[in-house]
Subunit: 283 residues, 2 copies
Amino acid sequence: MELWFTEKHTDDVNFSIKVDRQLYTGQSDFQRIDVFDSPEFGRFLTLDGYMMLTEKDEFIYHEMIVHVPMMVHPDVRTVLVIGGGDGGAVRELVRYPGVEHIDLVEIDPQVVAVCRKYLPQTACRLDDPRVAIHYEDGLKFVRTCENAYDLIIVDSTDPFGPGEGLFTKEFYGNCFKALRAEGLMVNQQESPFYPKDAIAMQRAHKRIVESFPISRVYQAHIPTYPSGHWLFGFASKRWHPITDFNRQRWTDLGFDTRYYNSSIHTGAFALPNYVKKLLEDVE
Amino acid sequence: MELWFTEKHTDDVNFSIKVDRQLYTGQSDFQRIDVFDSPEFGRFLTLDGYMMLTEKDEFIYHEMIVHVPMMVHPDVRTVLVIGGGDGGAVRELVRYPGVEHIDLVEIDPQVVAVCRKYLPQTACRLDDPRVAIHYEDGLKFVRTCENAYDLIIVDSTDPFGPGEGLFTKEFYGNCFKALRAEGLMVNQQESPFYPKDAIAMQRAHKRIVESFPISRVYQAHIPTYPSGHWLFGFASKRWHPITDFNRQRWTDLGFDTRYYNSSIHTGAFALPNYVKKLLEDVE
């Protein structure tokens, strides 16, 4: 027999992955959670049928959402991760000795439980003593915070379903307030290629531009996300992603990474003209 | 009814595009040629079932295979395009007033005829008076050339089937000989992500490194190619792709492009660590 998982990248484009077996399926209070084993991508996690991560390429997303802001802000001690129950962002963050405390705010405890059991590759550092996990709505959590974090990482699902509130103007405004005077925020910001994703990306960008004095977008090649061309938002009160990028600090850290490096850091902010136009149209 | 075109990106990964109708199908002396209309990507061309180009994203491939070398070599007058019967590379090349002559060597006249009829978006400039079309095997054509071209663009299919000879050491050596003393060559060089593509990419890189004193690899986001992460080889006798890149000349030209710009030029050569490692392993 053959077993195939299919994600509709659009109504007219299907991406299908051959599956060895389904390891887990469950319906939480928030979403359907599935874990599969596949010959091409190893183990992978889907929420409501959307690809969240695969063992083969999750390193790209997690390195890019963590090391880019960490190499711009000179002294990150406290971090808020919103979403990210798989633990991949935390795994990269705890590599930094200077990070003293990480609040991980994940709405769905079942995601964390499933990832702890089936995806140790990403969940492996969730028990680090610097990590506090809060099973709460990120939108509500951040409302209560003021001047508390050096870095906020919005590691959300797509802007529909449980992740929807994490793409609102109110949310970004509250993130601004929750950050210290030199704080910065990064967020996963969808893709510029397929029209529906591009509209979500533009909407998020518009709201971030309205909330932060410095707002840029950077990109990575993530083969298992729609179009493979994925964007991140970089929003900052003071530090500029390129001119304040500390190349020497990265070299000194000597981290072993598989995607991120100091040339990628700068290159990731070099956007194609068609993407720049989409962004400028809403600035 | 529903009609879907599927390309196997690997044995275990399918990429499927909903099709409105098949406009053309034919078997030439070299390959099966198909043209489809699709709601997501507009018209698209496949050879032996492999995606060659879609109206929606061909601009990325063609801008990147042409403008990168054109902005490094200061005075390109004669160009050899091998493959590229769709005309997309020629369309970008004839925008340069300094280009005096283009030899387009396409093995399959039926590809050119089909593209002229069904894909005017790429084939539109094949009748430019500076373009000479030769229906010959690129491998044989280039054997007869010496000190003749400023730029060679290897716009080939994949390294199996009719395009196979365009990935050999003999071919790259002949390209070196066919170039003038300051000449350079670019080639489409597959993807680093899926193992089979990555092996082909490594093999091509190894052979180019052995043939040219300067050899670098650059990348673009091309959503309809496997993994969306596509590579190009840049091989040169004298000019370095970054240090000899003339940013001002690009600004002065004032070309309207949808992907390429002067930041992309540099950023495209910033490769992820895992890609750098694949390349270093064969250097």
